[in-house]
Symmetry: C2
Subunit: 364 residues, 2 copies
DNA sequence: TTGAAAGCGGTACCAG
DNA sequence: CTGGTACCGCTTTCAA
């Protein structure tokens, strides 16, 4: 309530107009063009000029506006599209990107799908913002659309094994990762290993590769693949999810897992398509009173909570931070014009053993 | 590099220049001003005009650029400052905000501190972006700075119990919430209840209120408050955290909890300042082989993982989504000019019982 | 109701 | 190396 004091100087600081580049130029006694060069560290300014301009900038507390810069030059903004924020794997990627960006004049806009916004809408919005480059997860956007985006703005895709020419990709080796999981479970003595995942949608998506590798690896081992698909949740159904509780099992995941558990003979191990699915799977198995020896559970991603002693989930570490750092490194190469041919990098997956996977009990 | 395929029509769609408002005007045979009015749903356009313009917009696939709009009018962008993304409570808030925003032409920019960027830097950056309004957590920014920001742009603060006139606040009733925790533990028979939290910094921050309430409530119950403070991590030390693993106990939290456990007599219960601290606390107690009956643990926030059967953390549900939804509602009131006096809303906290809090074993 | 024209605050080009 | 200046695409008076 500083309002009771009629003229409070501490709040009075509301200049009629923000200080502009022209103001700086006037104060420093130079041209606007010169100031522009200084703030961009552009070529062709004498040390004396730079100094005087910098002094004026400091004196006036000048800060360039992104909007004005974006009109002519670059927006100094990187857009990061991702499906949601409640999945820790995605926020690990954000961390990796942000750390690299910290030493640059570029800023990061985190643009989650947030349930109601599709990845395509998010990409459009980033383009409307004239970002200088985009990093995207975009696991469900058609390739043609991505290629098109890639011709408009430098683009890096994560989790899509596309041999695109217009954009780069960064992926974990999902085939190798899946084999790590299966060999681990097979090594423990499991034979009835089920897989719970989203219904394959894009053939090149990480999820799909894990699924396909699971199937072929099982068959090669002479075992029967058992997949339970989580029903795709329509966007319309998701509206309002934000105000609901985050809690409880996603109904569809719950059903998918319950369906697996009801099979006879029951699977002794469940390989979940990613860690959030694995956590939900554990909700169901624990609710059913089934421990690691009855049903082993393995995830994929390496979310932070996975190695909490109370959870201790066996999973594949995808090195989210490294993926993010790699992505922004590749993106900056393109933005700075250092490279214009597509590259496709992979980071190695690593098995992280936890208590949720154990040998099956010897019944049968 | 569409270069390999000489003339690929699917990728060829790279118009030399994006379609502008002027193009739409030309196509529709009207003035740019008219188009501007139509896309803003502004007053003073005849139905016929609107229809023709809309047709041209659809035909050309016109999309207004945020930068240009921000130059003169509003940016149709809301900025959300928050300390980090790896804390699920914060992303719950984001969800609440996003859901309400879904029905408006406004877009959300999520701007996390990301370790290296301080809240103040993030706020500055949002202002440079000319966002139309800001929602901030900003738990460590001095009040004067916030008041100043509040005079520049509509501002809503979360987790700060300030009676400001220049900005609104949305808070959980931290006093009531803390009492719920303590009464629960006292009811279970605990007397040696410790508190682990960040060292109080801002007197009006939620964390501080919980701390202060803990102290007074304990004293009023005739018990001795025992607080262990987590050392503040300097920003400089945090750089690079993004590429490190998210895993393991924050060294400082670990030390703070270990210090508590080494006291004699040992506390039988630990009230953590928020859920992420509680999870780290559980890491330490479990590593020390101490179960709920040796050391009860209670958190605060209601993160999603708290109610996982493997964790089952007793905590206070702060209704993050509701807080976010409330915040954006208040912000839109200010942006649309419906209100110019500050309001300060509170949402009620609720105790959520879990397995991590149990009566103390009868030793003494 | 409609449109002409003057910017918003930077950048880029080009002449000095 | 420096500075004048024409823009970028949209919004906003203000006349017609």
């Amino acid at each position: 309530m500083t309002g009771s004091t009629p003229a409070d100087p501490s709040v009075a600081r509301t200049p009629g107009r923000k200080v502009s580049l022209r103001d700086v130029a006037a104060t420093a006694g130079v041209s606007p063009a010169a100031v522009s060069k200084v703030i961009r560290n552009a070529y062709g300014v004498s040390p004396g000029m730079r100094e005087r301009v910098q002094a004026a900038i400091d004196e006036l507390g000048y800060r360039p506006r992104f909007a004005a810069r974006a009109m002519r030059g670059s927006s100094f903004t990187i857009g990061l599209e991702l499906p949601e924020l409640s999945n820790d794997f995605f926020t690990q990627i954000v961390g990796g990107v942000a750390t690299v960006l910290a030493d640059t004049p570029y800023h990061l806009i985190v643009a989650p799908g947030l349930g109601y916004l599709s990845a395509e809408a998010v990409l459009d919005s980033l383009i409307d913002r004239q970002v200088d480059g985009i990093i995207a997860l975009a696991s469900k956007v058609p390739l043609e659309r991505l290629e098109q985006v890639g011709t408009q703005v430098p683009l890096i895709l994560l989790g899509r094994h596309e041999a695109s020419v217009s954009f780069d990709t960064v992926n974990s080796d999902d085939v190798a990762g899946t084999r790590l999981v299966l060999d681990h479970l097979l090594g423990l003595g499991h034979t009835r290993i089920a897989h719970v995942t989203l219904r394959p949608w894009i053939a090149t998506a990480s999820q799909t590769l894990r699924h396909d590798t699971y199937v072929t690896h099982m068959e090669r081992a002479g075992l029967e693949p058992q997949v339970s698909y989580v029903r795709l949740v329509e966007d319309s159904e998701r509206v309002g999810a934000g105000t609901d509780s985050h809690r409880g099992v996603d109904r569809d995941v719950g059903e998918a897992v319950a369906e697996l558990l009801s099979r006879s003979p029951r699977p002794t191990a469940i390989f979940a398509g990613h860690d959030m699915l694995a956590l939900d799977t554990l909700r169901v198995t624990r609710a059913a009173g089934l421990g690691p020896h009855e049903v082993a559970v393995v995830g994929y991603d390496g979310v932070a909570i996975a190695d909490h002693p109370l959870v201790d989930l066996t999973t594949i570490d995808q090195s989210g931070p490294t993926m993010g750092a790699t992505a922004i490194r590749l993106l900056m190469e393109r933005i700075l014009g250092d490279r214009s041919t597509a590259v496709h990098e992979e980071v190695g997956p690593a098995l992280r053993l936890g208590r949720t996977s154990a040998p099956p009990v010897a019944t049968s």
